[in-house]
Homo-oligomer: 257 residues x 2
DNA sequence: TCTACAAAGCCACATAAAGTCACATTAAAG
DNA sequence: CTTTAATGTGACTTTATGTGGCTTTGTAGA
């Protein structure tokens, strides 16, 4: 009777976690025929490596909870200021496009008391929020839903974007590179944001100051007629901020170092 | 015997809240098979985190209360029974299409613990609910958002429907005519539901017993290969119910007069 | 508007399951 | 055969949940 190696068990725990979102100590103990204490030690170890979080009775994956809801809270005031500033650019009668993300959600929030607008978005929370105003015509750009973003991406979304022309587009970004370019997590998301910008007469990128210290792998191939970047602060001494300042017109709202 | 994790319950409570706008203590206690006291403690905890507000009898989300929530509560048990019955028809690996509406939302609720499914829907609450499971691939059929339905309708939506073929479709209806036909409020919605049914190998209509006494102007031009109607009761003496019984295969779940 | 009654809420206590820690035991490696 | 890392065991603590008595709230009928 060969006992399975501990490493195998760790791998399988993570796999189960990926599949189910959460695991219980007692289930795992039964499954691997080891004591609950052993499982607890496994989970504690994996938790220290930052691969899961332990809870009473078991563990659940970390990426699960702090998706959009947590991000929304992060630097809420800064994002709200950006949202208000962006909303001022929107005139009655315009058709605009709003990308997914917590910063762009702040823009949608700032638009809720407006009327006579047409808003296109791939974000479900933004779509719901604006549709409920009943005064803003809202078009949802469909596609495959990305759970972390709570927004649609994919071929269908690209198709739909191509069918519309809008006055303004407000784009988000995953991060900003040392060269001042906007970057994203995936090739698809980057391409999609670029197409959104291209569908508008003028496109603004909304990014709060925390983005300047974030690096994500794929540059967004955004076309030149970008109207500018709206942010709540340019961190001094941050190369990404200085490079971006040379590259794009920047509007700083509120006051962050 | 492993007790389900408390955190999972919290997550699901928040999900249900997002989808329905409000939840009741007694429903949740039944759903999770725990005492009402436990649910109260959960809600109190979540309320302290600022993720919901508790009210007498349950909780509701903080932001704006949606028009959908009220309808969801109307005959909630009947709709839940229909949802569970419909969920049993869905097998692992299937691609299905779920129409918008409070009854179809109950189906989505019943599917939240499933995996290896692809779900297409034009409903924003259903899309959000299922995407958050992370185990169900969700495609949102975009288009213009109808605020009352919180769902997409229009040319774009029809285009997208045409691009897919699914195993099963679950369709809602605004009412049922004296001739037993399903009817809807607008020409567009009726056409769209018919196209949804046509995109599936088999289509079921989900309608609770209250629909038999509702009349809406536009018949849904649904094609013959409809697999049947799932309802929670056929009101006796109601001409619409008797006509429908002659027209379609009907499955009655639960027990309503 | 007032009253009565059922449902919901609250609190204190009981209990079972989960967690922690120290120490014993086992199995594999040198 | 010893060493060492992993695992099991048992005593004790903490947490989660349930239960019963009592209070509060909502609502329907007088």
């Amino acid at each position: 009777m060969s006992r399975p190696l501990a490493v195998d068990r760790h791998g399988q725990i993570l796999q189960a976690l990926e599949a189910q979102g959460s695991v219980s100590v007692s289930d795992l103990a039964e499954r691997f025929n080891v004591s609950m204490e052993t499982i607890r030690r496994d989970l504690k170890l994996l938790a220290e490596e930052g691969r899961l979080v332990t809870v009473h009775g078991g563990a659940h994956r970390l990426s699960n909870e702090p998706s959009l809801s947590r991000r929304t809270i992060e630097n809420a005031e800064g994002k709200a200021a950006i949202g208000r500033a962006a909303a001022e650019l929107v005139e009655d009668g315009m058709a605009i496009l709003i990308d997914s993300g917590s910063t762009t959600l702040a823009l949608a929030q700032a638009l809720t008391n407006r009327s006579d607008l047409t808003v296109l978005t791939n974000s479900l929370p933004i779509g719901l929020l604006l549709a409920r105003t009943k005064t803003i015509k809202t078009v949802l750009l469909g596609g495959e839903i990305e759970p972390n973003d709570e927004a649609a991406f994919g071929l269908d979304t690209l198709d739909l974007i191509a069918k519309y022309r809008v006055d303004l587009a407000f784009i988000g970004a995953g991060g900003i590179s040392e060269t001042g370019e906007f970057t994203d997590f995936t090739r698809l998301a980057a391409e999609q944001r670029a197409r959104m910008a291209a569908a508008a007469k003028a496109a603004y990128v909304l990014a709060d100051h925390t983005k300047f210290s974030k690096r994500t792998p794929v540059p967004i191939p955004i076309a030149p007629p970008i109207a500018g970047l709206i942010t709540d602060g340019l961190p001094k001494g941050e190369p990404a901020a200085e490079a971006a300042a040379r590259l794009w017109p920047i509007r700083v709202v509120g006051s962050k170092p």
